[in-house]
């Protein structure tokens, strides 16, 4: 009995590898530290009332941002482990099995649990303020989205200490990921973690689409909308087209694994190629889901820090919409080599290259926005400027990869690895960092200090090129992705070593950002103006951070750069509320149910991961109860009395 218990525990908890034991210890210590701190400072109630139950988009944005930065850390550690293993030939730091798990979690975390929450942090922090709304269209659903993301990510992340991580690659191609070749629970973690957070993502897409369509301030026609909001609109459209496809693909594979179906097995008429299609019908547009918001951020940042109107606004809008449509028609370029034939390959080569057209137009328009402007090199602008050469190169290599004949040589090699890291880091990460620095004062009420930020910028940027430039050549030399080691006679050593140095420089860059945040927290410099950068759009007309209800009185909009135009005409005060215009404001109540629903989903996911159908079903019953609670709730909202609003506004010096 005792023996079998130890045995079960041995399978349940991953043991043996010193790296994992060290992580176990670290996790236990950090958790104890958090519990102790919260108890010692009597913060449990505060945590529950202010954060876990909030439906306020501004607080949800902060929770997304913290999650994204934590996941950037986790994914970054994975990356450094891989780069260390590959620094020299035949290293034994990681076994093949461990390396396979790490590249799988690195990719999955960076795309789904780092990039996605980061863009949602920006959506939440900015969109309602930018369009003059008091919250998103469905604040309660917004909280559900966050908690589904959070518990999906948690489920995925505990895999490496309980049960074992997935190891089939972030693309998770069957039949490798079917039971026949991959009997462990790791793949189930992947499928369930992504499914749960995917539901949240679809809800976010619906939420922001509705918000942007229905909740703009009077006078803000579509063609007066700020470009970041336009980019979010395009992103939401893509999310609604493609995330359900991912959900279906994951669900079918899960049914194969849990209940012995044959959607993607080789036998009994299953077809693994169908998963590859479904995966990339989501997977390629996912790149645009991540990069369009970054494009939106660049448009805001470049205009603000050049003190100039965005150049070619209509072209910019057309480009966003073109990308969000053409982006859905390119997925086959991920598997030209699967043998679909020359007609299919030609079509998808050209459709893929076509995406470069609107993207190129955007780059020229950003350049022309700066032309004859007045450029201030603050941190957000530095990251936006660094984006342009990085993305120009990534875009060029993207065009090369798009052409089927040459893709046959680049496919699945380090050339391709270098390309998509350059696109996703240079495009998305740079953009999210620019956005974080830009809107940080609006989100938190204080600015980040420049000192460590500049260090971070240079370390990260130099490291970025040192890391990925050699990888292009490694690919042309024949090095495949997902190789956990190589032999010295391949002559790949020098380039791999340089690449590893670059990765560590990027790691130092990340630590500098962490140092910058801590430094700025300790030596806090409050932003009392609400408009620290000389902003152009509506969010900068509000105090930092904005009050709970955002706008005491919803403003009337007449220009694209409303705030900038008001400032130019000396009419800033016209955007402040007049006491007689202030009315009671109808706002949603906080609720713990979205959090509990996330917990229930987590229980369900954990149960199904281990094939414990009863636990899984119990979790789903919990989800249904949460839904029922919401349906039967007669009073989900409340009124903030006008007097209270007048007092708040007066305290902010706005009356």
């Amino acid at each position: 009995m005792g023996d079998s218990l130890t045995n079960t525990a041995g399978h349940f908890f991953v043991t043996g590898d010193p790296l994992i034991i060290a992580s176990d210890v670290a996790i236990v210590l950090v958790s104890l530290g958090i519990v102790f701190t919260l108890t010692y400072f009597k913060k449990w109630k505060w945590l529950w009332r202010e954060w876990l139950t909030t439906v306020d988009h501004k607080k949800i944005a902060i929770m997304y941002l913290i999650s994204a930065i934590l996941m950037l850390f986790r994914g970054g550690v994975d990356a450094l482990l891989m780069r260390t293993q590959l620094a020299l030939p035949n290293l034994g730091l990681l076994s093949a099995e461990h390396y396979d798990q790490i590249f799988t979690t690195h990719g999955t975390i960076m795309i789904l649990f780092m990039a996605m929450p980061f863009i949602f942090a920006m959506f939440n922090a900015v969109v309602p303020l930018q369009i003059g709304a008091r919250d998103v269209a469905f604040p309660y659903l917004n909280a559900i989205s966050f908690w589904l993301f959070f518990f999906g990510a948690l489920l995925f992340n505990i895999s490496f200490v309980i049960g074992g991580s997935p190891d089939g690659g972030w693309t998770s191609y069957p039949p490798l990921t079917e039971l026949q070749f991959d009997p462990g629970v790791g793949e189930n973690y992947y499928l369930l973690g992504l499914s749960i957070s995917g539901i949240g993502t679809i809800a976010t897409g619906i939420n922001f689409l509705a918000t942007i369509i229905k909740m703009r301030a009077p006078g803000m026609t579509l063609m007066k909308m700020p470009l970041f909001t336009w980019a979010v609109l395009g992103t939401c459209i893509i999310i609604l087209f493609v995330f359900p496809v991912l959900s279906v693909a994951l669900a079918l594979l899960l049914i194969d694994r849990l209940f012995g179906a044959h959607f993607f097995t080789m036998m009994y008429g299953g077809n693994p190629m169908q998963f590859v299609n479904l995966f990339w019908i989501w997977g390629h547009p996912e790149v645009y889901i991540a990069v369009l918001p970054a494009f939106g951020i660049y448009s805001e940042v470049v205009a603000t820090f050049s003190q100039k109107k965005i150049f070619g606004y209509k072209s910019m809008v057309a480009s966003i919409m073109a990308i969000s449509i053409i982006g859905n028609l390119t997925w086959v370029h991920h598997f030209f080599t699967m043998g679909a034939g020359p007609a299919v390959n030609t079509f998808f080569s050209i459709s893929t290259m076509a995406v470069a057209i609107p993207t190129g137009v955007k780059v020229f328009n950003w350049l022309m926005t700066m032309y004859r402007g007045r450029i201030t090199l603050s941190l957000p602008m530095l990251w936006a400027l660094a984006f342009i050469p990085a993305f120009a190169v990534a875009g060029a290599t993207g065009v090369w990869l798009a052409e089927a004949p040459t893709d046959y040589q680049y496919h699945n090699t380090y050339f391709m690895v270098a390309h998509f890291h350059q696109a996703l880091i240079g495009g998305v990460v740079f953009g999210m960092l620019a956005g974080m620095y830009y809107w940080w004062p609006k989100m938190f009420g204080f600015k980040l200090k420049e000192k460590f930020g500049k260090w971070a910028f240079w370390f990260f940027n130099i490291g970025f090129y040192v890391c990925f430039t050699p990888q292009y050549i490694l690919g042309l030399m024949g090095m495949q992705r997902r190789m956990y080691t190589y032999t010295a006679d391949m002559h790949w050593t020098a380039l791999n070593f340089v690449s590893t140095i670059g990765a560590y420089l990027m790691g130092i860059g990340f630590l500098c950002i962490a140092a910058q945040i801590i430094h700025s927290l300790v030596h806090m410099e409050k932003d009392l103006t609400g408009d620290p950068w000389g902003g152009r759009t509506l969010e900068w007309s509000l105090p930092s951070p904005a009050p709970h209800y955002n706008f005491a009185v919803i403003p009337q909009i007449s220009d694209r750069d409303e705030w900038w135009e008001r400032k130019r005409r000396g009419e800033q005060d016209a955007l402040k509320p007049r006491p007689e215009d202030i009315r009671d404001i109808h706002m949603p109540k906080n609720s713990g149910v979205p959090f509990l629903m996330g917990v229930c989903f987590f229980i369900a996911g954990f149960g199904f991961t281990f094939g414990w159908i009863a636990v899984g079903a119990a979790g789903l019953v919990g989800v249904l109860l949460c839904l029922a609670h919401r349906s039967l709730d007669q009073h989900p909202d409340h009124d903030i009395p006008a007097d209270e609003i007048r007092r708040t506004e007066a305290a902010l010096g706005r009356l």
């Binding site: 057209i357 024949g478 997902r482």
Partner: protein, 298 residues
């Protein structure tokens, strides 16, 4: 602070440059060392795409540097400042047009090459047929006309097109010999085709191109190209000296693991087609059509 930064950047760039040069002079950049018409045709397109995309990205980077230097927000900067300058139909037409033209050119070339590379590179010459099967974690080659088989290496005659018919008896992989041309997936229950040809005699590196689990990193193989007469001699040698492959030998090969290079003077008849059918091909019309002329019972 600034000079030391530049020094660091310079040192790193120089280090990267030197390592590129030392590693890049030789033959190791295999995609740039084509040994046959397929790889050469692909390399031609690589040069074209490099040239045409450089037409856009170099001006962009130079323009960016010039604009950032000229329009810095410094007191007394004499450069013009026009905060309302936000539209120019002419300029916008120019940069909608440039990428459209480039994509048009590249698209046309891609179209031609994609169709060309799906055919034999030398249609007038009689092709050699080789059936390739990826296993966990090794490569198995069958020569249906010579009735021999090899593991983890293949020999081919020079100046003669080779049609590789690809399948897998394991998770999906890809067959890649960069000096000879691009890769194609090997999939269980399916047959894909890849045309390659070697002009130059030599030994070429090949590797699996799609991850198939823990043994993937060692899925390397050699392709040896030699004149037809030498190739024939090699076939005779294999026929005369190598052992037969029995069904039991084949079953053992399909078990996960690594092996060195092996040669077999014969193999169970129809084993390639049978594997394709057994691993799922029986459900696919495409495979039945592809294998139609080889299948005794179809």
């Amino acid at each position: 602070m600034r000079p030391s930064w530049w020094k660091l950047a310079f040192t790193l760039a120089a280090g990267a440059g030197i390592s590129l040069l030392t590693s890049g002079c030789g033959e190791e950049i295999r995609v740039f060392q084509p040994a046959g018409p397929v790889a050469r045709s692909e390399l031609e397109l690589i040069w074209l795409q490099m040239g045409l995309t450089a037409v856009v990205i170099l001006p962009v980077i130079l323009l960016l540097a010039w604009i950032v230097i000229r329009y810095r927000n410094k007191p007394g900067n004499p450069a013009p400042y026009q905060p309302e300058f936000a539209e120019s139909r002419t300029l916008e037409i120019i940069w909608w047009a440039i990428p459209i033209v480039i994509v048009g050119i590249l698209g046309t070339v891609t179209w031609h090459k994609t169709y060309a590379l799906a055919q034999s590179p030398s249609p007038s010459k009689e092709p050699l047929k080789i059936e390739v099967m990826s296993l966990n974690w090794k490569w198995l080659f069958f020569y249906p006309d010579q009735k021999i088989a090899t593991v983890n290496y293949a020999e081919i005659p020079t100046d003669r097109p080779v049609e590789f018919l690809l399948t897998a008896n394991a998770p999906m992989n890809a067959f890649w010999v960069p000096n000879l041309g691009g890769m194609q997936y090997t999939m269980p229950g399916m047959v894909t085709a890849l045309w390659l040809q070697a002009d130059k005699a030599g030994e070429y590196y090949g590797h699996g191109g799609n991850f198939t689990g823990p043994g993937f990193a060692q899925m390397q193989f050699r392709v040896v190209a030699k004149p037809q007469s030498d190739f024939d001699a090699w076939v005779r040698q294999v026929v005369n000296s190598a052992p037969d492959m029995t069904q039991a030998d084949y079953d053992k090969l399909t078990q996960p693991g690594h092996l060195g290079e092996l040669s077999f003077s014969s193999y169970p008849e129809g084993i390639f087609e049978k594997t394709v059918m057994d691993e799922g091909g029986m459900y696919m019309e495409h495979d039945r059509a592809m294998l139609g002329n080889m299948m005794p019972h179809s």
